[in-house]
C-alpha cells in the first residue's frame, strides 16, 4: 500500500527491511522526476517529490514495488551493497556488564559481535548514526537506565537488536563495547557517511 504523506510525499509500505532496501536501491538507480528524498525505514520507504505529478509517481512506485517484491520472492539477489570493515578496540566501559547480561564471558561477547556481518537498516537520531541490524541475539541487552551525557565519537555500542558506531560525540544510552578510529561521518567527504541503508558491516578486533 502507498500512503499520502502530505502534498509532496508518498509513503510506500514494503513490510520488510529487505524490500525497503531493494526499493531504495531501485529508486536511486532509476530516480523518478523531481524526487528529492528517498528515506527507507524498517517497513517503509518515504519518497518526497516537490512539485511532481503525484499520481504518476504513485503508479510508478506501485510498479517498482511489485517488480522488486517479485525479485525478492524469486530470491534474486539484490544489487551487491558495499561492505565496510570496522576495526574495533574492544575496551568499552560496558563490556563486562554486557557479558554479565548476556550470560557469557567478555571474549565471547567480542567473538559474537565481530563474528558476523551486520547490515545498515536505516540512519537516524543523528547524521550518520546507522542502526545496524542482524546482531547476535545473545547480545541483545537493554539500554542504560540513565543515558550518558556524552559518548565520544567512534564509540561502538549495542542496544536491543541493534549495534551502532557513534558518528559524533553526543548523549547516548547504548552500551559501549569499544571504539574505532575509523571516521564513519565526515561532512567534508562525499558522501559524508560511510554507511547508507543496505551497507554491510563487519566488525574486527583491532
Amino acid at each position: 500500500m502507498i500512503r499520502l504523506a502530505g502534498e509532496h510525499g508518498l509513503l510506500v509500505e514494503t513490510g520488510s527491511l529487505e524490500l525497503s532496501h531493494r526499493m531504495d536501491a531501485a529508486l536511486r538507480r532509476e530516480r523518478p522526476d523531481r524526487v528529492e528524498e528517498i528515506v527507507p525505514g524498517p517497513d517503509t520507504v518515504l519518497v518526497v517529490a516537490p512539485g511532481g505529478d503525484r499520481e504518476r509517481l504513485r503508479a510508478r512506485l506501485e510498479r517498482l514495488l511489485a517488480r522488486e517484491r517479485d525479485r525478492s520472492l524469486a530470491a534474486e539477489p539484490a544489487a551487491a551493497a558495499p561492505v565496510v570493515t570496522i576495526p574495533v578496540v574492544y575496551d568499552g566501559a560496558d563490556l563486562e556488564p554486557v557479558a554479565e547480561l548476556a550470560g557469557c564471558g567478555v571474549d565471547e561477547v567480542i567473538a559474537r559481535h565481530a563474528g558476523r556481518e551486520l547490515v545498515v537498516g536505516w540512519l537516524g537520531f543523528a547524521p550518520g548514526f546507522a542502526y545496524l541490524t542482524g546482531l547476535d541475539p545473545v547480545l541483545r541487552v537493554p539500554r542504560l537506565d540513565t543515558p550518558r551525557t556524552s559518548v565520544p565519537a567512534g564509540s561502538v555500542a549495542v542496544a536491543g537488536p541493534y549495534s551502532a558506531v557513534y558518528p559524533t560525540a553526543s548523549p547516548g544510552g547504548w552500551r559501549l563495547l569499544g571504539r574505532t578510529e575509523l571516521r564513519v561521518w565526515d561532512v567534508a567527504a562525499d558522501p559524508p557517511s560511510l554507511f547508507r541503508p543496505g551497507t554491510r558491516v563487519r566488525f574486527e578486533p583491532a
Binding site: 500512503r3 528517498i38 518526497v48 543523528a126 559524508p192
Partner: protein
C-alpha cells in the same frame, strides 16, 4: 562584514536548507518560513536561496562594517538606526559603520534579514543553514560574531513588497499517512477547537496543547521517514507540527500533514498563540 552586537533570543543563519541527505540522518533544515526569506532576498536583488539571518522575536542589533543594501521580511519588527527608509518589505541602504536596531515583533515569531550578496559563511553539505537538531552548519549567532557578506550580483528590481496581512492562524492539512492509528473521530477532534502553542516550541517543531487525540492502535510504529509539516502525535495525545529541523525519521504516528503553503503560518506561531487545523482546502 556584519558584526552581531545583540543577537536577540535566538538567531541563526539560514538558506533553503540541505535537501537530499535525509537517508543519512540529516534534517533538511533551512529557513523555518521559507517564503519570508525568499521575499527578503528578492527585495535586495539576490537569488532566493542565498543565506540570510533568521531572528526569533527580533530584539537584535547588528553593525554593518561595510555599507550594504538590506531588507526585512517575516514577523514585522520596528527598525531604527541610521539606515534611511528602513522598515519591513523594502530594500534600504545601511551605511558603513551604522548599527541596525530591530525591536520586538508585534506579531509573528521569525524575522528574516537579507543582505545584498547574501551571508557568505562556509557551507556544510551544500547549505549555510544552522541545523539546531544535529548541530550542522554555523553556530547560532552570539554577540561579537562576524558574518561575511558575499559579492552582489543582479539588480534590485523591487522597491516595496506588501507584507501579508495576518489572517486567523489556520493550518490546512492532508490526513495521513497514519490517521488510521487514531480513533475515527480524532481528525474531527483535531479540527474542532483551537490548540495553544507551548513554550517548548522551536525550529524542530511547534508543540501544541489542546484536546487529546486518542489512539485506536496500541504498540509502536516502526521508525519511518517524516516530512516537514507532519503532525506527529506522541503518546500524550498532544500534537507536534514538524518544522525545518525535524528529525528525518520518527516513530510516532502522523495523523496529517500541513500544506506547504501554510508552513510559513506554522513557523510564525509564537508561544501562547492559538491555532486551528482544517482539512478543507480553503481556509
Amino acid at each position: 562584514m556584519i558584526e552581531i552586537i545583540v543577537p536577540g533570543p535566538y538567531a541563526t543563519v539560514q538558506d533553503l536548507g540541505r535537501p537530499g541527505y535525509a537517508h543519512l540522518g540529516v534534517p533538511r533544515s533551512g529557513a523555518a518560513d521559507l517564503e519570508s526569506l525568499k521575499l527578503a532576498n528578492r527585495l535586495v536583488g539576490n537569488p532566493e536561496g542565498l543565506a540570510g539571518v533568521e531572528l526569533t522575536l527580533g530584539s537584535a542589533r547588528l553593525r554593518f562594517l561595510r555599507g550594504a543594501w538590506a531588507a526585512l521580511a517575516g514577523a514585522p519588527v520596528p527598525v531604527s538606526g541610521p539606515a534611511r527608509g528602513a522598515g519591513m518589505g523594502v530594500p534600504f541602504w545601511v551605511p558603513a559603520g551604522a548599527e541596525l536596531r530591530l525591536g520586538l515583533p508585534a506579531r509573528g515569531l521569525r524575522t528574516y534579514l537579507a543582505v545584498r550578496g547574501g551571508i557568505a559563511v562556509e557551507p556544510v553539505l551544500g547549505s549555510r543553514s544552522t541545523d539546531s537538531l544535529s548541530g550542522l552548519g554555523p553556530e547560532p549567532l552570539r554577540a561579537g560574531a562576524r558574518l561575511p557578506v558575499g559579492p552582489a550580483a543582479g539588480v534590485i528590481a523591487a522597491d516595496v513588497a506588501p507584507l501579508p496581512e495576518p489572517g486567523p492562524a489556520v493550518l490546512r492539512l492532508l490526513p495521513g499517512p497514519r490517521d488510521d492509528w487514531f480513533v475515527p473521530e480524532a481528525l474531527e477532534e483535531l479540527c474542532a477547537s483551537p490548540y495553544a502553542v507551548t513554550q517548548d516550541s522551536n525550529r524542530v517543531g511547534v508543540r501544541l496543547r489542546g484536546p487529546e487525540l486518542v489512539r485506536a492502535k496500541d504498540g509502536e510504529l516502526p521508525s519511518e521517514g517524516m516530512v516537514t509539516g507532519a503532525v506527529q502525535v506522541p503518546p500524550s495525545g498532544q500534537p507536534i507540527v514538524f518544522l525545518a529541523d525535524h528529525p528525518p525519521t520518527g516513530g510516532y504516528p502522523v495523523i496529517g500533514v500541513v500544506r506547504a503553503a501554510d508552513l510559513g503560518v506554522a513557523a510564525q506561531l509564537r508561544p501562547g498563540d492559538e491555532v486551528r487545523f482544517s482539512t478543507r482546502l480553503r481556509a
